[in-house]
Amino acid sequence: MENSLDPAPSLLEVRGISKSFGAVRALQEVDFTLRAGEIHALLGENGAGKSTLIKVITGVFPRDAGVVRLGGEEVAPRSAKAALQAGIATVYQEVNLLPNLSVAQNLFLDRQPMRFGIVREGEMRRRAKALLTEFGLDIDVAAPLGNYSIAIQHVTAIARAVDLSARVLILDEPTASLDRHEVEILFGIMRQLARRGIGIVFVSHFLDQVYEISDRITVLRNGRLVGERETASLPRLELIRMMLGRELAETTGARAAANDRPPREICASFENYGKAGYVAPFNLELRHGEVVGLAGLLGSGRTETARLVFSAERADGGQAKVEGASVRLQSPRDGVRHGFGYCPEERKTDGIVAELTVRENIVLALQAKRGLHRPLSRREQDELARRYVKMLDIRPPDAERPVGLLSGGNQQKVLLARWLATAPRLLVLDEPTRGIDVGAHAEIIRLIRELCDDGLALLVISSELDEIVTYSDRVVVLRDRAHVEELSGEAIDVTNILAAIAADGAAMQEARA
């Protein structure tokens, strides 16, 4: 690259990458450019396509269309190993090394210095020691890797990757399990590697860290490229708008006028409810016939709040009341007993049972609530299934089809039906419109409104701000695992929500004091 005139030549060029999983288009014509010696943040909410992009670049997933060029030459690795050989190394949040082997063996596995077929242990340790010293680590390299902290394991993984002559280093959420001091060490190493001309892709949802370390930022949303900016000239509010908003100016007027009804009685209330290290204590009132939206960035504590409310997680302080009476919520069974329902974000892993039929999935929660000694007869089951398939317009309308064969939107409806069958008073929906196509999207939103009109209390999490604005009567905004703002009535619009999310922590506290 010495013949290039560009002071920062592009090292990795990704052009027009597309990738679909079945009907879901995970990436559409995404471009991404990484220059040598820069730290480039790749941002986006859950489902934006960050990890799909990384996996396509590193050959874990085959791509449907597009080109990847490394140093001007086209590369198409078929596996993570091939990508590594080409010079693209990835270090994931959960370190992909072997905790039972020594640090030195981890660094030199399969390429140990040998003599007469015997590993030169001493030489290997010397080299390992020298390599880690470059990264500011002075540890016993003969000890098992598992004895060391996650931070040291991360640095070891990076050292291995760099020593394998990586030119592009992708760090996927490397700081998620590190403390402040460890993050400083990692950042020092990243800057040092960047000076050596290595291009670093930094995936994180900690915006403070992104502003601290990155030179440029690329934002993805819903599998599309939103834009690429210089970090220094990108205001935080603008960044969050890129990550969350759609064409925001027009959406403010699109709000349904559904919240003009008189306030109804309280269904469930939570006072000073919280769990240390999970979500800061919050106050929350959920009323019948009302939708409360939870807004915030990934990792802000939205799902955590939902899990506490449903009792999937046990609170360590505060009080919960259902219909005015104090209750103890210890386990999901308590939640179900009090008439709560919860549709989690990860439908595939936490929600539906793909092998079971639509009917079996629908009766699951109701049967669990009734207990094993009061089985639902087959006729009752058929009746329930028929009713909800019709009511929610589940397609195809075949109750005996395994749920795994349905589209994402219809799977979501089956999940909804499961909880509706238990006649709940409160339903918690975590990202109900994630990963489903546009038509089904609108239908789910219509359903949310209808359920609410029937007197159900709803707590809905969504990353789509215009969506939240459309159906919420009140919006709770979260930041850094705390509830920071509650908007209601006319105050609910995308601009206000964005402002609350972006608000500088210190300024906010001053304003409160």
């Binding site: 190993k81 039972n100 082997l101 596995l109 390429r111 590993v119 003969a142 098992p144 291995r160 399990s177």
Partner: protein
């Protein structure tokens, strides 16, 4: 180094046990008894060395007992009925058992099947095949057998270090070196640490799997030949349950049944502990030999509990960390 604490405990159990035996029966503390112990357990030591590699890599090999049985029958028939020179018979059976192990390893890797099931099938297959060859015990009268049986190094104190004991010791030492000093050995640990991760780090997981099961079956073949020297016969019912004895020796020797940690030395000590219990029961004379099994069972329980304790201890700080950040 890796796995030293459990090995140390195994060594202490062996020394303490031996001391207790010697207190009750002073004659036990002689090279004569030790020499016999090594001879009696030679085949077990050999097959358990192979089992150590398999278990450290995260697998299991249930077929080894049957391979020993098949080997004895095959060797006996080849020499006595088919008129094959003993050395040729040995080479043939070793090639056959190595190929058998390689096939099991390949099936495990290619079809991504649990080693337990594949080697269980191998166990039935080899045992069945040995019955097919002969259901009766076939005595071996070839001169080489009496030569080898008569050969022994004199130890001070009148003990005899027999040829088969020497073979076993050589294989144990070879196993220690292979596991500790070579790239192959490092890869065995890597596989036990995590197949997917090892593969990402560049280890040829498929080739390694084939080689590991090939090694185990090859050593089972050698153990079979040694067993035929020991009994001077080939019998399709010999070495029934030896796979379990060898797994017990491996676990008592401090190797984690889940893979990733362990040592050949530990396994050797585990074999000696089992042999020591057997010797004690022989000396006592009034106890049923089944007490060997009972004592082995109790020891196994103790060692598994001990390992779980150690693993829990090792994990505790990590769990605390994870809890603190989530």
């Amino acid at each position: 180094m890796k796995g030293l604490p459990p090995v140390l405990i195994t060594a202490i159990v062996l020394v303490a046990g031996f001391a207790l035996c010697a207190l009750q029966f002073p004659n036990i503390a002689s090279t004569r008894v030790v020499g016999n112990l090594l001879t009696d357990n030679a085949f077990l030591g050999i097959v358990a060395t192979g089992m150590t590699f398999v278990i450290i890599s995260g697998g299991i090999d249930l077929s080894v007992g049957s391979v020993i049985g098949f080997t004895t029958v095959f060797v006996a028939l080849a020499i006595e009925r088919w008129g094959v020179p003993p050395l040729v018979a040995f080479v043939a059976i070793l090639a056959l058992s190595a190929a058998f192990g390689a096939a099991m390893g390949a099936i495990i890797h290619v079809f991504d099947l649990p080693p337990f099931i594949v080697t269980l099938a191998g166990m039935f297959l080899a045992r069945g095949a040995s019955f097919l060859l002969s259901t009766e015990s076939v005595p071996i009268t070839a001169p080489v057998y009496s030569t080898v049986s008569d050969f022994a190094l004199r130890m001070p104190g009148g003990g005899r270090l027999t040829a088969i004991a020497i073979i076993m010791l050589a294989i144990v030492i070879g196993g220690v070196l292979l596991l500790r000093l070579t790239r192959f050995g490092a890869n065995v640990y890597a596989l036990g640490g995590g197949r997917a991760t090892a593969s990402l780090m560049g280890v040829a997981v498929g080739k390694m799997t084939v080689k590991i099961y090939m090694l185990s079956s090859l050593l089972a073949g050698i153990a079979g030949i040694v067993f035929s020297f020991y009994t001077s016969a080939g019998y399709s019912l010999s070495a029934v349950g030896v796979e379990l004895d060898s797994i017990a020796a491996v676990v008592i020797g401090g190797t984690l049944l889940t893979g990733g940690q362990g040592s050949v030395i530990g396994t050797f000590l585990g074999v000696l502990i089992q042999g020591m219990i057997q010797t004690y029961i022989n000396f006592d004379g009034t106890l049923s030999s089944w007490w060997t099994k009972i004592a082995t069972g109790v020891l196994l329980f103790a060692f598994i509990a001990l390992q779980q304790g150690l693993v829990a201890l090792a994990r505790r700080p990590a769990a605390k960390r994870a809890g603190a950040v989530s």
